[in-house]
Symmetry: C2
Subunit: 214 residues, 2 copies
């Protein structure tokens, strides 16, 4: 539908209620992401989330159905940011190994913001249990595994990646080692990026170091 009544006047735009809503939602999402990455889901106190965003729990329950809905929204939000900042740019690389390494380095940079730990924290918390949050996480993660597995297979076909364990297992190790290394080194640039690249290069058994390769 074409915007019917929305007057985007160039003269003066005082904050409309739609803008206020979007702004509040964004602030709450960011606060919730920070809280989730710090405390996890179970230990997260919604009152603290709201207070950190400058609101009360009333605003939170006005925007989100319940705690679970909030967590799912945070997951989608982080996932979308990741795709825009890491996933899509890596597609510009011409060869599989280049794309894989771009994913690793981009993820390391992306995780310098505390927000990124959300995924790992929630996955640890919901890996075993049958929960909506866990399912959403697994769905998002599974996409990454498949993408990486395809890249590994492509790299093996063209000879840039040597043979080894099944591509799916390699992909899982790729993501696990990447996230683990990055979390342990978060906030310590530039070593986080270098060592994340080293870890995934080791998983793939390829030799790509920044300085002159042979």
């Amino acid at each position: 539908m074409s915007g019917p009544t929305a007057q985007t006047s160039t003269r003066r735009r005082r904050p409309s209620q739609a803008e206020r809503r979007a702004r509040s939602r964004g602030a709450l999402l960011e606060s919730a992401a920070r809280g989730l990455s710090r405390c996890g889901y179970g230990n997260l106190r919604l009152e603290e989330v709201a207070r950190d965003a400058g609101y009360t729990r009333g605003a939170l329950y006005h925007q989100f159905k319940d705690k679970e809905d909030l967590a799912l929204a945070v997951i989608d939000w982080v996932d979308e940011n990741w795709r825009r900042e890491v996933g899509d740019p890596a597609k510009l690389e011409p060869d599989p190994v280049g794309e894989l390494m771009a994913l690793a380095r981009g993820h390391a940079v992306f995780c310098r913001r505390d927000v990124a730990r959300v995924v790992m924290a929630l996955r640890m918390e919901f890996s075993g249990r049958d929960h909506a949050v866990g399912r959403r996480l697994q769905r998002a993660s599974e996409g990454g595994v498949k993408r990486i597995a395809r890249l590994v297979e492509a790299g093996r076909r063209d000879g840039s990646i040597p043979p080894g364990p099944p591509a799916t297992a390699v992909a899982r190790a790729f993501l696990g080692a990447l996230e683990g290394a990055v979390i342990e080194l978060a906030g310590r640039p530039p070593h986080d990026e270098v060592l994340a690249a080293r870890a995934v290069a080791g998983v793939l058994r390829v030799d790509v170091e920044g300085s002159g390769a042979r």
Copy 2:
């Protein structure tokens, strides 16, 4: 005094109260470790822990002061098992790289039991917060970091490990990549061991090909 109390003969002695206590404590610790690795600390329900061990919460509160005390005991328990099964055997390796790779492979095997995820789960949960559990975790983890950093420095001195980022950063990446890869591949032998070795070899930038043997 000629009773059977002090007699530790080969015959089957009936369980003393000290033995009962030790057995109960062990069962509760194992159940708590499983619960912690599955649910984390906040979501852990003590009633479930006790029930899984065949007791009620009464037994738990008889052996442990409170929930925090139980978690600390689990950490010490896991740490001690890790040292016995992984840390000490690796010391038999003659050279630094051999010891580092033995640590990686041993850790992968150790983590095939769900128990091992406790450390990672609790670290994610308490990394940011100032809590007794987090401090105990960090203390245990810091020992591993120092040991690995010393090995990295030794390997660089004798030329078996090329130069790179500071040894402490390398050690953190070593542990992070190792744990991340192992968690993602837990229960999928033999790829967990191979890929964990690959990941840490990449972090160290050493070439240790272990393929071929099964």
